[in-house]
């Protein structure tokens, strides 16, 4: 499984990527939507884990851009504090099951990753 983590909180995504690597999950991380689009040009990812609110391109907008180019990629959204509107949009975009509120338990995240790719 190859995962792309996208969150403007560098300390968060870098640490999460390190922890996933200890669990045999190959995770790359970037801190912006533009950087994510660049990474997706060069590597094939099974899953993108996207922060909903990021400067520039939001997680939802990023999903749309990635989806056009990589239709097979699956998505999980992370949010700091979901408003009801955010939750509705997130649930529509990824399904309520794949819209996680921070701080996230790594085992729950891995479980969702496995579910979303049908393992």
């Amino acid at each position: 499984m190859r995962v792309l983590l996208v969150d403007d909180e560098e300390e968060l995504v870098s640490t999460l990527a390190e922890r996933l690597s200890y669990r045999e999950i190959n995770a790359d991380w970037v801190t912006s939507g533009l950087a994510a689009l660049e990474m997706a040009k060069n590597y094939k990812y099974d899953i993108a884990v996207l922060d909903v609110k990021m400067p520039g391109i939001s997680g939802f907008e990023l999903k749309k851009s990635l989806q056009n180019k990589h239709p097979a990629m699956k998505y999980i959204f992370l949010t700091g504090h979901g408003s009801e509107d955010d939750f509705k949009t997130g649930a529509e975009e990824a399904g309520a099951e794949y819209y996680l509120v921070k701080p996230v338990n790594i085992d729950s995240l891995i479980k969702k990753m496995n579910e979303v790719i049908g393992l």
């Binding site: 300390e11 640490t15 200890y22 609110k53």
Partner: protein, 218 residues
């Protein structure tokens, strides 16, 4: 000068700021959570025979301290903001208020890909006013500017004493340039400006918005 004039708008402003602060705190907690998890991972690995690396432990400790400092700053700002409703009329330093509003708005301006900057001020610029209503009208100015600004813009802010009046100048607003009809002040700003005895001047050509507060009649 009561809060009745702002009604729903004031409450919405208060809620928006608190929601943003809670979002920032959530992010801090998420970073601490991952670092605590990383520490647990190292302990589990140590139990399986992988020796603990003191440098990695030191790195986690440093990150935790940085996040505590970050959270402390966020909470200090929240506390100052919360206490702004304590008194309906108070003598305040407008520079302090402006700096606080820039900090409280930083998450929003980041989302727009722009920023606000203030030059150095050596002397306080004081005025007797309603602190919360002033913060509210400053927020409306910042909110309008964020919507007008282009990605990568830095909008400068200066606070000036002009006799008894205080001027807050927002300049370098690229989106104002070329606009012929700016609808500022709109109804929400007008209500607050009336209560604060202030006015808003928009100079499209110069890319500048000036908030004037009358120091005599507040």
């Amino acid at each position: 000068m009561s809060y009745d004039v702002t009604g729903e708008v004031g409450l919405q402003f208060f809620g928006k700021m608190i929601a943003s602060i809670s979002h920032e705190i959530k992010n801090v907690l998420a970073v601490i959570n991952e670092n605590a998890g990383l520490l647990e991972d190292f302990i589990l690995m140590e139990e399986k025979g992988v020796p603990l690396n003191p440098e990695k432990l030191k790195r986690i400790s440093t990150k935790a301290k940085e996040q505590v400092k970050r959270a402390d700053g966020i909470i200090q700002n929240m506390n100052r903001f919360a206490h702004s409703v304590d008194e309906t009329v108070k003598t305040i330093d407008v520079i302090d208020t402006m700096e606080l509003m820039i900090k409280l708005s930083a998450r929003f301006s980041d989302m727009f890909g722009m920023s606000f900057t203030m030059g150095s001020h050596f002397d306080p610029v004081k005025i007797e006013t309603n602190p919360f209503l002033l913060q509210n009208v400053i927020w409306f100015c910042l909110d309008n500017i964020m919507n007008l600004a282009k990605n990568g813009d830095t909008v400068s802010i200066a606070v000036e004493q002009n006799g008894c009046d205080v001027l807050i100048r927002f300049f370098g607003i690229s989106g104002l340039d070329g606009m012929t009809n700016c609808d500022l002040p709109a109804e929400r700003e007008t209500i607050l400006l009336k209560a604060l005895n202030g006015k808003l001047q928009v100079d499209n050509g110069a890319g500048e918005i000036v908030l004037c507060l009358n120091g005599n009649k507040n």
